[in-house]
Protein backbone atom coordinates (compact mmCIF):
# COMPACT_ATOMS: atom_id res chain seq x y z
CA UNK A 1 0.00 0.00 0.00
CA UNK A 2 1.42 3.32 -1.04
CA UNK A 3 -0.08 6.53 0.30
CA UNK A 4 -0.29 9.74 -1.72
CA UNK A 5 -0.73 13.37 -0.70
CA UNK A 6 -4.54 13.08 -0.50
CA UNK A 7 -4.34 10.02 1.74
CA UNK A 8 -1.99 11.77 4.14
CA UNK A 9 -4.23 14.83 4.27
CA UNK A 10 -7.26 12.65 4.95
CA UNK A 11 -5.53 10.67 7.71
CA UNK A 12 -4.12 13.83 9.30
CA UNK A 13 -7.64 15.25 9.38
CA UNK A 14 -9.03 12.04 10.96
CA UNK A 15 -6.30 12.26 13.60
CA UNK A 16 -6.84 16.03 14.03
CA UNK A 17 -3.20 16.80 13.28
CA UNK A 18 -2.11 19.94 11.47
CA UNK A 19 0.63 18.93 9.05
CA UNK A 20 2.61 21.53 7.12
CA UNK A 21 2.24 21.28 3.33
CA UNK A 22 6.01 20.88 2.93
CA UNK A 23 6.08 17.88 5.30
CA UNK A 24 3.41 15.88 3.44
CA UNK A 25 5.73 14.13 0.94
CA UNK A 26 7.98 12.99 3.81
CA UNK A 27 5.04 11.56 5.74
CA UNK A 28 3.65 9.91 2.59
CA UNK A 29 6.99 8.15 2.05
CA UNK A 30 7.55 7.04 5.66
CA UNK A 31 3.95 5.96 6.23
CA UNK A 32 4.05 3.96 2.99
CA UNK A 33 7.23 2.18 4.07
CA UNK A 34 5.68 1.32 7.44
CA UNK A 35 2.58 -0.06 5.71
CA UNK A 36 4.83 -2.13 3.47
CA UNK A 37 6.45 -3.64 6.55
CA UNK A 38 3.04 -4.29 8.08
CA UNK A 39 1.74 -6.01 4.99
CA UNK A 40 4.07 -8.94 5.57
CA UNK A 41 1.16 -10.12 7.70
CA UNK A 42 -0.81 -10.86 4.54
CA UNK A 43 1.35 -13.87 3.74
CA UNK A 44 -0.24 -15.79 6.62
CA UNK A 45 -3.63 -17.44 6.56
CA UNK A 46 -5.45 -16.46 9.76
CA UNK A 47 -9.01 -17.47 8.80
CA UNK A 48 -9.47 -19.89 11.67
CA UNK A 49 -7.50 -17.96 14.29
CA UNK A 50 -9.27 -15.93 16.94
CA UNK A 51 -7.98 -12.44 17.74
CA UNK A 52 -6.12 -11.93 21.00
CA UNK A 53 -6.83 -8.80 23.01
CA UNK A 54 -5.35 -9.60 26.42
CA UNK A 55 -2.47 -11.94 27.26
CA UNK A 56 -4.21 -13.57 30.20
CA UNK A 57 -7.62 -13.77 28.50
CA UNK A 58 -8.82 -11.57 31.33
CA UNK A 59 -12.32 -10.19 31.34
CA UNK A 60 -13.36 -6.75 32.43
CA UNK A 61 -13.80 -6.59 36.18
CA UNK A 62 -17.00 -5.05 37.47
CA UNK A 63 -17.47 -3.15 40.70
CA UNK A 64 -20.35 -1.74 42.70
CA UNK A 65 -21.65 1.52 41.31
CA UNK A 66 -20.53 3.72 44.18
CA UNK A 67 -18.85 7.11 44.30
CA UNK A 68 -15.10 6.61 44.74
CA UNK A 69 -13.71 9.96 43.62
CA UNK A 70 -14.00 13.20 45.52
CA UNK A 71 -14.52 16.48 43.72
CA UNK A 72 -11.10 17.96 42.83
CA UNK A 73 -12.20 20.34 40.12
CA UNK A 74 -10.16 23.31 41.28
CA UNK A 75 -7.06 21.16 41.72
CA UNK A 76 -7.40 19.67 38.23
CA UNK A 77 -8.20 22.98 36.58
CA UNK A 78 -5.05 24.60 37.91
CA UNK A 79 -3.15 23.06 35.00
CA UNK A 80 -5.73 23.89 32.32
CA UNK A 81 -4.82 26.30 29.50
CA UNK A 82 -7.92 28.46 30.04
CA UNK A 83 -10.76 28.25 32.58
CA UNK A 84 -13.51 30.56 33.81
CA UNK A 85 -15.95 29.95 36.69
CA UNK A 86 -14.96 26.28 36.82
CA UNK A 87 -15.47 25.77 33.08
CA UNK A 88 -12.85 24.91 30.47
CA UNK A 89 -12.79 27.56 27.78
CA UNK A 90 -12.54 26.78 24.05
CA UNK A 91 -13.29 28.93 21.00
CA UNK A 92 -16.98 29.50 20.45
CA UNK A 93 -18.65 26.40 18.99
CA UNK A 94 -22.27 27.55 18.47
CA UNK A 95 -23.01 30.90 16.80
Amino acid sequence: MSLDKNDVEKIAHLARLAIAEKDIPGYAASLSSILQLVEQMNAVDTDNISPMAHPQDAFQRLREDVVTEENQRDHFQKIAPEVENGLYLVPQVIE
Binding site: I11, I34, L35, V44, M52, P55, P81, V90
Partner: protein, 484 residues
Amino acid sequence: MHSKTIAELAAGLKKGDFSSEELTRSFLQRIQQFDPELNSFITVSEEHALTQAKAADAVIAKGNATALTGIPLAQKDIFCTNGIKTTCGSKMLDNFIAPYDSTVIRNFNQAGSVMMGKTNMDEFAMGSSNETSFYGGVKNPWDILTVPGGSSGGSAAAVAARLVPASTGTDTGGSIRQPAALCGITGLKPTYGRVSRYGMIAFASSLDQAGTFTQTAEDSALMLNVMAGFDEKDSTSVDKAVPDYTADLNKNLKGLKIGLPKEYFGEGLNADVAKVVEEAIAEYKKMGAEIIEISLPNSHLSVPAYYVIAPAECSSNLSRFDGVRFGYRCDDPKDLEDLYKRSRGEGFGDEVKRRIMIGAYALSAGYYDAYYLKAQKIRHLISDDFKQAFEKVDVIMGPTSPEVAFKAGEKSGDPVSMYLSDIYTIATNLAGLPGMSVPCGFSNNLPVGLQIIGNYFDESRLLNVAHQYQQTTDWHVRIPDAYK
Protein backbone atom coordinates in the same frame (compact mmCIF):
# COMPACT_ATOMS: atom_id res chain seq x y z
CA MET B 1 29.67 4.72 47.15
CA HIS B 2 28.31 5.18 43.64
CA SER B 3 29.21 1.69 42.44
CA LYS B 4 27.29 -0.05 45.21
CA THR B 5 24.09 -1.97 44.56
CA ILE B 6 20.77 -1.30 46.30
CA ALA B 7 21.36 -4.32 48.52
CA GLU B 8 24.81 -3.00 49.56
CA LEU B 9 23.55 0.54 50.10
CA ALA B 10 20.62 -0.70 52.20
CA ALA B 11 23.07 -2.61 54.39
CA GLY B 12 25.24 0.50 54.74
CA LEU B 13 22.23 2.64 55.69
CA LYS B 14 21.14 0.11 58.26
CA LYS B 15 24.59 -0.10 59.81
CA GLY B 16 24.86 3.67 59.90
CA ASP B 17 27.92 3.83 57.58
CA PHE B 18 26.21 6.77 55.90
CA SER B 19 22.82 8.48 56.00
CA SER B 20 20.30 8.64 53.20
CA GLU B 21 20.91 12.39 53.08
CA GLU B 22 24.64 11.85 52.51
CA LEU B 23 23.89 9.22 49.90
CA THR B 24 21.39 11.47 48.15
CA ARG B 25 23.80 14.43 48.16
CA SER B 26 26.56 12.29 46.74
CA PHE B 27 24.41 11.06 43.84
CA LEU B 28 23.04 14.58 43.25
CA GLN B 29 26.62 15.70 42.89
CA ARG B 30 27.31 12.99 40.32
CA ILE B 31 24.22 14.07 38.40
CA GLN B 32 25.47 17.68 38.44
CA GLN B 33 28.89 16.58 37.32
CA PHE B 34 27.98 14.18 34.51
CA ASP B 35 24.46 14.83 33.35
CA PRO B 36 25.06 18.07 31.45
CA GLU B 37 26.78 15.83 28.90
CA LEU B 38 24.66 12.65 29.16
CA ASN B 39 21.26 14.43 29.31
CA SER B 40 19.69 11.45 31.07
CA PHE B 41 17.42 13.59 33.27
CA ILE B 42 14.61 15.90 32.18
CA THR B 43 13.97 17.06 35.75
CA VAL B 44 16.27 16.75 38.75
CA SER B 45 14.11 17.07 41.87
CA GLU B 46 16.85 18.02 44.32
CA GLU B 47 14.73 19.64 47.01
CA HIS B 48 12.13 16.87 46.95
CA ALA B 49 14.90 14.24 47.11
CA LEU B 50 16.54 15.83 50.15
CA THR B 51 13.17 16.06 51.93
CA GLN B 52 12.52 12.38 51.23
CA ALA B 53 16.07 11.46 52.31
CA LYS B 54 15.67 13.22 55.66
CA ALA B 55 12.34 11.48 56.20
CA ALA B 56 13.98 8.16 55.31
CA ASP B 57 16.77 8.77 57.83
CA ALA B 58 14.14 9.23 60.53
CA VAL B 59 12.48 5.94 59.56
CA ILE B 60 15.85 4.14 59.51
CA ALA B 61 16.73 5.58 62.93
CA LYS B 62 13.52 4.09 64.30
CA GLY B 63 14.46 0.71 62.88
CA ASN B 64 11.52 0.62 60.47
CA ALA B 65 13.45 0.57 57.21
CA THR B 66 12.45 -1.63 54.27
CA ALA B 67 14.92 -2.73 51.59
CA LEU B 68 14.40 0.47 49.63
CA THR B 69 14.14 3.03 52.43
CA GLY B 70 16.51 5.90 51.77
CA ILE B 71 17.69 4.53 48.41
CA PRO B 72 18.00 7.16 45.65
CA LEU B 73 16.14 6.18 42.48
CA ALA B 74 15.33 7.84 39.17
CA GLN B 75 11.87 7.54 37.65
CA LYS B 76 11.11 7.49 33.96
CA ASP B 77 9.28 10.69 33.06
CA ILE B 78 6.23 8.68 32.04
CA PHE B 79 5.08 8.11 35.64
CA CYS B 80 2.86 10.89 36.95
CA THR B 81 4.32 12.57 40.02
CA ASN B 82 2.13 14.86 42.09
CA GLY B 83 3.56 18.37 42.02
CA ILE B 84 6.63 17.52 39.92
CA LYS B 85 6.62 17.98 36.16
CA THR B 86 5.78 14.89 34.05
CA THR B 87 6.57 15.45 30.36
CA CYS B 88 6.69 12.01 28.74
CA GLY B 89 9.50 13.51 26.64
CA SER B 90 7.03 15.70 24.76
CA LYS B 91 6.48 19.39 24.11
CA MET B 92 2.79 18.50 24.54
CA LEU B 93 3.38 18.00 28.28
CA ASP B 94 6.25 20.46 28.79
CA ASN B 95 4.01 22.42 31.20
CA PHE B 96 2.23 19.42 32.76
CA ILE B 97 2.35 19.03 36.53
CA ALA B 98 0.31 15.96 37.35
CA PRO B 99 -2.33 16.43 40.04
CA TYR B 100 -1.74 12.90 41.41
CA ASP B 101 0.87 10.15 41.82
CA SER B 102 0.93 7.03 39.67
CA THR B 103 0.65 3.79 41.63
CA VAL B 104 4.30 2.93 40.93
CA ILE B 105 5.43 6.26 42.42
CA ARG B 106 3.07 5.85 45.37
CA ASN B 107 4.51 2.39 46.06
CA PHE B 108 8.08 3.71 46.03
CA ASN B 109 7.07 6.60 48.27
CA GLN B 110 5.51 4.18 50.72
CA ALA B 111 8.71 2.12 50.69
CA GLY B 112 10.59 5.29 51.63
CA SER B 113 12.84 5.51 48.58
CA VAL B 114 14.17 8.83 47.36
CA MET B 115 13.20 10.19 43.95
CA MET B 116 16.17 12.00 42.41
CA GLY B 117 14.30 13.12 39.32
CA LYS B 118 12.57 12.18 36.11
CA THR B 119 14.53 10.61 33.30
CA ASN B 120 14.68 11.41 29.62
CA MET B 121 12.88 9.18 27.15
CA ASP B 122 11.67 8.93 23.59
CA GLU B 123 8.56 11.07 23.15
CA PHE B 124 5.58 9.16 24.57
CA ALA B 125 7.91 6.10 24.71
CA MET B 126 7.95 5.84 20.91
CA GLY B 127 11.47 5.09 19.81
CA SER B 128 14.45 2.81 20.22
CA SER B 129 17.24 5.38 20.54
CA ASN B 130 15.93 8.18 22.77
CA GLU B 131 16.36 10.53 19.82
CA THR B 132 12.66 11.45 19.57
CA SER B 133 12.67 13.23 22.94
CA PHE B 134 11.64 16.91 22.88
CA TYR B 135 14.48 17.41 25.40
CA GLY B 136 17.18 16.07 23.09
CA GLY B 137 18.92 12.74 22.81
CA VAL B 138 20.67 10.90 25.65
CA LYS B 139 24.28 9.81 25.29
CA ASN B 140 25.38 6.25 25.97
CA PRO B 141 28.00 6.36 28.78
CA TRP B 142 30.01 3.62 27.02
CA ASP B 143 30.53 5.81 23.96
CA ILE B 144 28.93 9.22 23.85
CA LEU B 145 28.67 9.11 20.07
CA THR B 146 26.23 6.21 20.35
CA VAL B 147 22.63 6.07 21.55
CA PRO B 148 21.59 4.47 24.85
CA GLY B 149 18.64 2.73 23.20
CA GLY B 150 15.06 3.56 23.93
CA SER B 151 12.54 4.40 24.84
CA SER B 152 13.77 4.38 28.45
CA GLY B 153 17.19 5.69 27.38
CA GLY B 154 17.62 8.19 30.22
CA SER B 155 16.85 5.62 32.91
CA ALA B 156 19.35 3.18 31.37
CA ALA B 157 22.15 5.72 30.86
CA ALA B 158 21.74 7.09 34.40
CA VAL B 159 22.26 3.64 35.93
CA ALA B 160 25.09 2.74 33.52
CA ALA B 161 26.98 5.91 34.55
CA ARG B 162 26.05 5.24 38.21
CA LEU B 163 24.25 8.57 38.58
CA VAL B 164 21.66 6.55 40.50
CA PRO B 165 21.84 2.96 41.78
CA ALA B 166 18.63 2.00 39.94
CA SER B 167 15.71 3.41 37.99
CA THR B 168 12.35 2.52 36.51
CA GLY B 169 11.30 2.17 32.91
CA THR B 170 8.42 0.99 30.79
CA ASP B 171 8.50 -1.62 28.06
CA THR B 172 5.94 -1.71 25.23
CA GLY B 173 8.10 -3.40 22.59
CA GLY B 174 11.52 -3.60 24.23
CA SER B 175 11.89 -0.19 25.85
CA ILE B 176 13.48 -1.62 29.01
CA ARG B 177 15.38 -4.62 27.65
CA GLN B 178 16.95 -2.96 24.60
CA PRO B 179 18.39 0.09 26.44
CA ALA B 180 19.51 -2.19 29.29
CA ALA B 181 21.42 -4.24 26.72
CA LEU B 182 22.92 -1.22 24.95
CA CYS B 183 23.99 0.34 28.28
CA GLY B 184 25.35 -2.83 29.89
CA ILE B 185 22.94 -3.06 32.83
CA THR B 186 20.20 -5.39 34.07
CA GLY B 187 16.66 -4.71 32.81
CA LEU B 188 13.44 -6.41 33.80
CA LYS B 189 10.05 -6.24 32.10
CA PRO B 190 7.51 -8.14 34.20
CA THR B 191 4.45 -10.04 32.97
CA TYR B 192 1.72 -7.83 31.52
CA GLY B 193 -0.59 -6.92 34.39
CA ARG B 194 1.96 -7.57 37.16
CA VAL B 195 2.65 -3.88 37.83
CA SER B 196 -0.12 -1.28 37.84
CA ARG B 197 -0.32 1.05 34.86
CA TYR B 198 -2.35 3.63 36.79
CA GLY B 199 -0.80 7.04 36.27
CA MET B 200 1.71 5.69 33.76
CA ILE B 201 1.05 7.69 30.61
CA ALA B 202 -0.43 5.20 28.15
CA PHE B 203 1.18 4.41 24.79
CA ALA B 204 -0.25 0.99 23.80
CA SER B 205 -2.44 -0.18 26.66
CA SER B 206 -2.45 -3.89 25.84
CA LEU B 207 1.38 -3.99 25.73
CA ASP B 208 2.73 -1.38 28.20
CA GLN B 209 4.36 -2.69 31.35
CA ALA B 210 6.55 -0.99 33.96
CA GLY B 211 9.83 -2.49 35.11
CA THR B 212 13.33 -1.82 36.35
CA PHE B 213 16.93 -0.91 35.51
CA THR B 214 19.47 -2.09 38.05
CA GLN B 215 23.06 -3.25 38.34
CA THR B 216 22.10 -6.74 39.48
CA ALA B 217 19.22 -9.21 39.32
CA GLU B 218 19.08 -9.13 43.10
CA ASP B 219 18.33 -5.41 42.96
CA SER B 220 15.64 -6.03 40.30
CA ALA B 221 14.00 -8.43 42.75
CA LEU B 222 14.08 -5.79 45.50
CA MET B 223 12.53 -3.21 43.16
CA LEU B 224 9.86 -5.61 41.87
CA ASN B 225 8.89 -6.48 45.43
CA VAL B 226 7.83 -2.84 45.77
CA MET B 227 6.28 -2.36 42.32
CA ALA B 228 4.27 -5.55 41.78
CA GLY B 229 0.72 -6.06 42.90
CA PHE B 230 -2.94 -5.74 42.14
CA ASP B 231 -4.38 -2.25 41.76
CA GLU B 232 -8.11 -1.57 41.57
CA LYS B 233 -7.34 1.58 39.62
CA ASP B 234 -5.88 -0.40 36.70
CA SER B 235 -8.54 -2.61 35.14
CA THR B 236 -5.88 -4.78 33.47
CA SER B 237 -3.80 -5.32 36.58
CA VAL B 238 -3.87 -8.97 37.62
CA ASP B 239 -5.12 -10.02 41.05
CA LYS B 240 -2.49 -12.57 41.93
CA ALA B 241 -0.37 -12.93 45.06
CA VAL B 242 3.07 -11.29 44.94
CA PRO B 243 5.86 -13.61 46.06
CA ASP B 244 9.09 -12.39 47.66
CA TYR B 245 11.15 -12.13 44.48
CA THR B 246 14.42 -12.54 46.38
CA ALA B 247 13.37 -15.94 47.79
CA ASP B 248 14.52 -18.09 44.85
CA LEU B 249 17.64 -16.13 43.85
CA ASN B 250 20.07 -18.71 45.19
CA LYS B 251 18.44 -21.79 43.71
CA ASN B 252 20.78 -24.09 41.84
CA LEU B 253 20.31 -24.17 38.04
CA LYS B 254 21.06 -27.87 37.62
CA GLY B 255 18.56 -29.38 35.20
CA LEU B 256 17.19 -25.98 34.10
CA LYS B 257 15.86 -26.32 30.56
CA ILE B 258 16.90 -23.40 28.36
CA GLY B 259 15.25 -23.04 24.98
CA LEU B 260 17.16 -21.38 22.16
CA PRO B 261 14.80 -20.26 19.40
CA LYS B 262 16.56 -20.84 16.11
CA GLU B 263 14.80 -17.75 14.71
CA TYR B 264 16.72 -15.56 17.20
CA PHE B 265 20.10 -16.65 15.87
CA GLY B 266 19.51 -16.29 12.15
CA GLU B 267 19.89 -13.63 9.52
CA GLY B 268 20.10 -10.06 10.83
CA LEU B 269 22.03 -10.93 13.99
CA ASN B 270 25.48 -9.37 14.19
CA ALA B 271 28.09 -12.17 14.24
CA ASP B 272 30.04 -10.71 17.17
CA VAL B 273 26.89 -10.32 19.24
CA ALA B 274 25.94 -13.92 18.41
CA LYS B 275 29.33 -15.13 19.64
CA VAL B 276 29.06 -13.27 22.95
CA VAL B 277 25.53 -14.60 23.55
CA GLU B 278 26.64 -18.15 22.74
CA GLU B 279 29.44 -17.84 25.29
CA ALA B 280 26.89 -16.80 27.90
CA ILE B 281 24.79 -19.84 27.09
CA ALA B 282 27.89 -22.04 27.40
CA GLU B 283 28.30 -20.61 30.89
CA TYR B 284 24.79 -21.80 31.76
CA LYS B 285 25.67 -25.23 30.43
CA LYS B 286 28.60 -25.29 32.87
CA MET B 287 26.13 -24.52 35.66
CA GLY B 288 24.21 -27.66 34.76
CA ALA B 289 21.51 -26.29 32.50
CA GLU B 290 20.24 -28.27 29.56
CA ILE B 291 20.16 -26.47 26.21
CA ILE B 292 17.29 -27.31 23.87
CA GLU B 293 16.79 -25.93 20.39
CA ILE B 294 13.24 -24.68 19.89
CA SER B 295 11.32 -22.84 17.22
CA LEU B 296 9.09 -19.79 17.41
CA PRO B 297 7.94 -20.08 13.81
CA ASN B 298 5.88 -16.87 13.70
CA SER B 299 8.49 -14.56 15.22
CA HIS B 300 9.13 -12.86 11.87
CA LEU B 301 5.55 -11.55 12.09
CA SER B 302 5.99 -9.84 15.42
CA VAL B 303 7.37 -6.53 14.11
CA PRO B 304 4.64 -6.20 11.41
CA ALA B 305 1.84 -7.06 13.88
CA TYR B 306 3.30 -4.75 16.52
CA TYR B 307 3.38 -1.80 14.11
CA VAL B 308 -0.37 -2.12 13.69
CA ILE B 309 -1.37 -2.81 17.29
CA ALA B 310 0.89 -0.28 19.00
CA PRO B 311 0.06 2.64 16.64
CA ALA B 312 -3.66 1.79 16.69
CA GLU B 313 -3.73 1.88 20.47
CA CYS B 314 -1.54 4.99 20.58
CA SER B 315 -3.79 6.88 18.17
CA SER B 316 -6.67 6.17 20.52
CA ASN B 317 -4.76 6.87 23.76
CA LEU B 318 -3.20 10.10 22.50
CA SER B 319 -6.54 11.53 21.41
CA ARG B 320 -6.85 12.84 24.97
CA PHE B 321 -4.18 15.45 24.19
CA ASP B 322 -6.46 18.04 22.64
CA GLY B 323 -5.31 21.33 24.12
CA VAL B 324 -8.46 21.72 26.21
CA ARG B 325 -7.92 20.47 29.77
CA PHE B 326 -4.14 20.26 30.18
CA GLY B 327 -0.95 20.28 28.20
CA TYR B 328 0.06 22.38 25.22
CA ARG B 329 -2.42 24.73 23.52
CA CYS B 330 -1.63 26.59 20.30
CA ASP B 331 -1.80 30.41 20.14
CA ASP B 332 -4.95 32.14 18.88
CA PRO B 333 -7.06 29.18 17.71
CA LYS B 334 -9.67 30.42 15.25
CA ASP B 335 -12.17 27.67 16.02
CA LEU B 336 -12.35 24.38 17.91
CA GLU B 337 -11.02 22.27 15.05
CA ASP B 338 -8.11 24.64 14.59
CA LEU B 339 -7.41 24.38 18.34
CA TYR B 340 -7.30 20.58 18.17
CA LYS B 341 -5.28 20.36 15.00
CA ARG B 342 -2.65 22.96 15.73
CA SER B 343 -2.27 22.07 19.42
CA ARG B 344 -1.61 18.47 18.36
CA GLY B 345 0.37 19.34 15.24
CA GLU B 346 2.67 21.68 17.18
CA GLY B 347 2.74 19.69 20.44
CA PHE B 348 3.68 16.29 19.03
CA GLY B 349 6.98 15.44 17.34
CA ASP B 350 7.42 13.64 14.02
CA GLU B 351 7.57 10.02 15.19
CA VAL B 352 4.51 10.41 17.41
CA LYS B 353 2.58 11.98 14.54
CA ARG B 354 3.65 9.14 12.25
CA ARG B 355 2.40 6.51 14.66
CA ILE B 356 -0.86 8.33 15.35
CA MET B 357 -1.46 8.51 11.60
CA ILE B 358 -0.63 4.82 11.02
CA GLY B 359 -3.02 3.96 13.84
CA ALA B 360 -5.79 6.25 12.60
CA TYR B 361 -5.40 4.71 9.14
CA ALA B 362 -5.44 1.12 10.43
CA LEU B 363 -8.57 1.79 12.47
CA SER B 364 -10.41 3.81 9.82
CA ALA B 365 -13.60 2.54 8.19
CA GLY B 366 -12.94 -0.32 5.79
CA TYR B 367 -9.42 -1.10 7.03
CA TYR B 368 -10.07 -2.54 10.49
CA ASP B 369 -10.22 -6.19 9.37
CA ALA B 370 -7.14 -5.97 7.16
CA TYR B 371 -4.97 -4.35 9.83
CA TYR B 372 -6.02 -4.38 13.48
CA LEU B 373 -8.02 -7.61 13.43
CA LYS B 374 -5.37 -9.35 11.34
CA ALA B 375 -2.65 -8.21 13.74
CA GLN B 376 -4.62 -9.42 16.78
CA LYS B 377 -4.94 -12.84 15.13
CA ILE B 378 -1.21 -12.96 14.46
CA ARG B 379 -0.69 -11.98 18.06
CA HIS B 380 -2.50 -15.19 18.95
CA LEU B 381 -0.18 -17.24 16.73
CA ILE B 382 2.87 -15.66 18.34
CA SER B 383 1.50 -16.27 21.82
CA ASP B 384 0.76 -19.93 20.93
CA ASP B 385 4.36 -20.38 19.75
CA PHE B 386 5.54 -19.41 23.23
CA LYS B 387 2.93 -21.61 24.91
CA GLN B 388 4.22 -24.62 23.01
CA ALA B 389 7.83 -23.73 23.74
CA PHE B 390 7.18 -23.45 27.47
CA GLU B 391 5.81 -26.98 27.50
CA LYS B 392 9.38 -28.09 26.74
CA VAL B 393 11.59 -25.50 28.42
CA ASP B 394 11.75 -23.37 31.59
CA VAL B 395 13.20 -20.22 30.06
CA ILE B 396 14.04 -18.99 26.57
CA MET B 397 17.32 -17.25 25.81
CA GLY B 398 18.73 -15.25 22.95
CA PRO B 399 20.18 -11.86 22.14
CA THR B 400 18.26 -8.81 23.40
CA SER B 401 19.21 -6.70 20.42
CA PRO B 402 20.63 -7.71 17.02
CA GLU B 403 23.55 -5.30 17.45
CA VAL B 404 25.36 -3.16 20.01
CA ALA B 405 24.65 0.57 20.48
CA PHE B 406 24.50 2.36 17.15
CA LYS B 407 25.63 5.90 16.33
CA ALA B 408 23.26 8.80 16.98
CA GLY B 409 21.60 9.80 13.72
CA GLU B 410 22.31 6.46 12.06
CA LYS B 411 18.69 5.27 11.99
CA SER B 412 16.69 8.36 12.88
CA GLY B 413 15.88 9.14 9.24
CA ASP B 414 14.52 5.66 8.51
CA PRO B 415 11.71 4.56 10.82
CA VAL B 416 11.58 0.99 9.56
CA SER B 417 15.28 0.32 10.21
CA MET B 418 14.81 1.78 13.71
CA TYR B 419 11.81 -0.52 14.29
CA LEU B 420 13.90 -3.57 13.45
CA SER B 421 16.21 -2.95 16.42
CA ASP B 422 13.40 -4.40 18.56
CA ILE B 423 13.09 -7.56 16.48
CA TYR B 424 13.88 -9.91 19.41
CA THR B 425 11.96 -8.09 22.13
CA ILE B 426 8.58 -7.29 20.58
CA ALA B 427 7.17 -10.83 20.55
CA THR B 428 7.42 -10.99 24.34
CA ASN B 429 5.16 -7.93 24.66
CA LEU B 430 2.66 -9.30 22.15
CA ALA B 431 2.42 -12.47 24.24
CA GLY B 432 2.50 -10.52 27.54
CA LEU B 433 5.42 -12.56 28.91
CA PRO B 434 8.13 -11.36 31.30
CA GLY B 435 11.64 -10.77 29.97
CA MET B 436 15.04 -9.61 31.15
CA SER B 437 18.25 -8.36 29.65
CA VAL B 438 21.48 -9.17 31.44
CA PRO B 439 24.94 -7.87 30.49
CA CYS B 440 26.94 -10.78 29.04
CA GLY B 441 30.01 -9.31 27.36
CA PHE B 442 31.24 -6.77 24.85
CA SER B 443 31.59 -6.33 21.13
CA ASN B 444 33.73 -3.40 19.88
CA ASN B 445 33.95 -2.26 23.52
CA LEU B 446 30.18 -1.86 23.68
CA PRO B 447 27.95 -3.99 25.93
CA VAL B 448 25.92 -6.96 24.72
CA GLY B 449 22.73 -8.10 26.45
CA LEU B 450 21.48 -11.64 26.96
CA GLN B 451 17.70 -11.82 26.81
CA ILE B 452 15.93 -14.25 29.13
CA ILE B 453 12.21 -14.80 28.56
CA GLY B 454 10.04 -16.57 31.11
CA ASN B 455 6.56 -17.99 31.36
CA TYR B 456 3.66 -15.90 32.72
CA PHE B 457 4.30 -14.67 36.28
CA ASP B 458 7.57 -16.61 36.42
CA GLU B 459 9.63 -13.53 37.37
CA SER B 460 11.11 -15.38 40.35
CA ARG B 461 12.68 -17.93 38.04
CA LEU B 462 13.93 -15.26 35.62
CA LEU B 463 15.59 -13.42 38.48
CA ASN B 464 17.08 -16.65 39.80
CA VAL B 465 18.49 -17.51 36.37
CA ALA B 466 19.97 -14.01 35.97
CA HIS B 467 21.32 -13.90 39.53
CA GLN B 468 23.13 -17.23 39.21
CA TYR B 469 24.87 -16.00 36.05
CA GLN B 470 25.92 -12.85 37.92
CA GLN B 471 27.49 -15.02 40.63
CA THR B 472 29.93 -16.55 38.14
CA THR B 473 30.51 -13.62 35.77
CA ASP B 474 31.38 -9.97 36.32
CA TRP B 475 29.97 -8.26 33.21
CA HIS B 476 27.30 -6.56 35.32
CA VAL B 477 29.83 -4.77 37.55
CA ARG B 478 31.70 -3.16 34.65
CA ILE B 479 31.46 0.63 34.59
CA PRO B 480 32.58 2.83 31.68
CA ASP B 481 35.99 4.39 32.49
CA ALA B 482 34.83 8.00 32.58
CA TYR B 483 32.33 7.25 35.37
CA LYS B 484 34.37 4.95 37.63
